[in-house]
């Protein structure tokens, strides 16, 4: 049996602030199968990024992490960075919202790309540069030869994100984690990047984790979607099922909040009352209960666990929507 590309068991993350630990991720378990695209959706502060920053060993020094993370069956959480770096950046890669801050501003694009192959694949600089150029062509960057000798600030945001995607694919990764890869981009450029990720996924055959606050963007690519709220997974379902038959009231509310380009024009936009909880807010009962239209007494006392539901979905709710 092929092990999942990534499996996370009971992962918790907390940040130490002023002598108190602020929990950001609480007992999250998930698996990303080889070749699968999993979307992670949640609002800011829901912990969706921290799960994967922790898995990649990229969290700041004031964090404490517990649980188990395996990449292709091998433990990668808490291992020495020399060991982690055998896969991180080559077989297991991550791209971020702001491609400018992910690049070194004073190194040329070509040098930054080639360095990945020199370090991880033991190629010579000249071989690596040639491969870098081919990769820029594959991610459809016009005039690749000229781009190699440019600096990051000379490229537009969309081109920079293409370079980052190219860089992340240089070593034929088994898993690419893309954290809000289109959030900083214009809508026409966003469509191009989504299209590129789709094409590259088919070409490379890698698994993809797409983290976004935007359900519509995630729906363009994901086979399966996990919804996070207040540091926990509250629903997991196939993309079509999640969009058309959401189980968790939070998922349903999120879907309703997306203003639509078609259908009748609304006098007022649909809303979800209240504010998302802040990390560290009290955790008794269900974290969504104060904003939930379906909340009952039990929801305020007893925290619902993530349990199997119809169609292979999972939901953490005492009173899920009827199917």
């Amino acid at each position: 049996m092929i092990p999942p590309a990534l499996s996370i068991d009971g992962l918790s993350v907390a940040f130490r602030q002023r002598h108190a630990d602020i929990p950001a991720v609480r007992e999250v378990s998930l698996a990303v199968e080889a070749g699968e695209c999993v979307g992670i959706v949640g609002e800011s502060g829901s912990g969706k990024t921290q799960v994967f920053m922790a898995a990649m060993g990229l969290l700041a020094g004031n964090s404490s992490v517990s649980g188990r993370v395996r990449f292709e069956g091998e433990d990668i959480l808490g291992v020495p960075s020399a060991q982690l770096n055998r896969v991180r950046g080559s077989k297991l890669t991550m791209i971020f919202q702001d491609p400018m801050t992910s690049m070194t501003p004073h190194l040329k694009i070509g040098t930054q790309l080639a360095e990945v192959l020199v370090r991880h694949a033991g190629k010579s600089w000249s071989e690596a540069r040639a491969a870098a150029r081919r990769m820029l062509e594959r991610v459809r960057i016009p005039e690749p030869a000229r781009r190699l000798s440019q600096y990051p600030h000379e490229l537009s945001g969309g081109l920079r994100q293409r370079v980052m995607i190219g860089m992340s694919l240089l070593c034929q990764p088994k898993l690419l984690i893309a954290d809000e890869p289109t959030t900083a981009l214009d809508v026409t450029v966003q469509a191009q990047i989504i299209d590129l990720l789709r094409a590259m996924r088919e070409e490379v055959g890698m698994a993809l984790v797409l983290i976004s606050h935007d359900l519509a963007v995630v729906g363009e690519l994901a086979d399966r979607i996990l919804v996070m709220y207040a540091g926990r997974i509250v629903e997991s379902a196939g993309a079509a099922q999640l969009y058309h038959q959401p189980l968790h009231p939070y998922t349903a509310a999120l879907l309703k909040c997306i203003p639509s380009l078609s259908g009748p024009r609304l006098e007022r936009l649909p809303t979800l009352a209240g504010q998302p909880p802040r990390p560290g807010d009290s955790t008794e009962g269900c974290a969504f209960a104060p904003r939930c239209p379906r909340a009952a007494e039990r929801c305020r006392i007893e925290r619902p666990l993530l349990q199997d539901a119809v169609g292979g979905a999972k939901v953490a709710c005492h009173n899920p929507l009827p199917q």
């Binding site: 214009d186 809508v187 380009l261 007022r268 504010q275 998302p276």
Partner: protein, 331 residues
Amino acid sequence: MNEADPGQVPLLSVRDLRVNFGAHAAITDVGFDLGAGETLGLVGESGSGKSTLARAILRLIRTSHGGVLWRGRDLLLCDATELRRRRRDLQIVFQDPLASLNPRMTVGESVAEPLRIFAPELDARARGRRVAHMLQRVGLADDMHERYPHEFSGGQCQRIGIARAMILSPQLLICDEPVSSLDVSVQGQIVNLLLDLQRDAGTAMLFISHNLAVVRHLSHRILVMYAGRIVEIASRDALFAAPLHPYTRALLAAVPSAIPAPGAVRAPAALVEGTSSRPLAAGCAFRDRCPHALPVCAASVPPLEQVAVGHRVACHRSHELLPLELRSPQP
């Protein structure tokens, strides 16, 4: 609402506006009218000149050419005293709610500041009452006025910014991407708040956003900018039913559908290649991304022309792209 009722002076009339940053023209030949109480949505990609236009209208940046007529009086010709007086009626809400509040002023002080400047006749007590009322109006609890901006979430900070902008009941509120940095679940709350306040005060709005779906729900008319120029302006219904400029069409097609059909693949037309919205040396700035471009598009900049009532487009091929039923009979 239709554009410029004859015989009536519009609230705001922008004429041939141009802003240069050095040798680079940030906006060129921008002109439109805005009526009292009307909401004009302004869309376009980053760098298209949306925020520059907003700042030029408020005279926060220097304009190179053109006029900004406020009830018929050109704001660009006002002296400092008059400008200050008139600014009472023109307010702005910015994208980054935290950065637009003074971190060393309490929320109450920030919201009271416009009153201190423009209503000096109010004593501290009367001012406090107005501030408390306004904070309540935007959904913030009474005890919050003594707190500092960093203690609030992004959505709450945006409520504070809106309270500050609306406390003088301005006649024009410019909103520059007011919900772009907020979570989806909070966006709707803020947009609805703006609509409520607008209705109560009869305020006109220039609503800048890259989110076409949001703009659609709240605008009477929509203006599309590309590379510093207006490429299309039309009533909301006309723009969504029959977008004419190829860029407007690309923009609409690129929006991910809210609830995608399983396995849906976007029509290739949506994937307009290229990213630059910088003006080209001559001709139409969109031509190298445009599926309909002809040699004429490289030769001259297409003028913004009326193709139907209240619907203007800057495209050499707008008449061919116009659906048959909208074409005016040929003489």
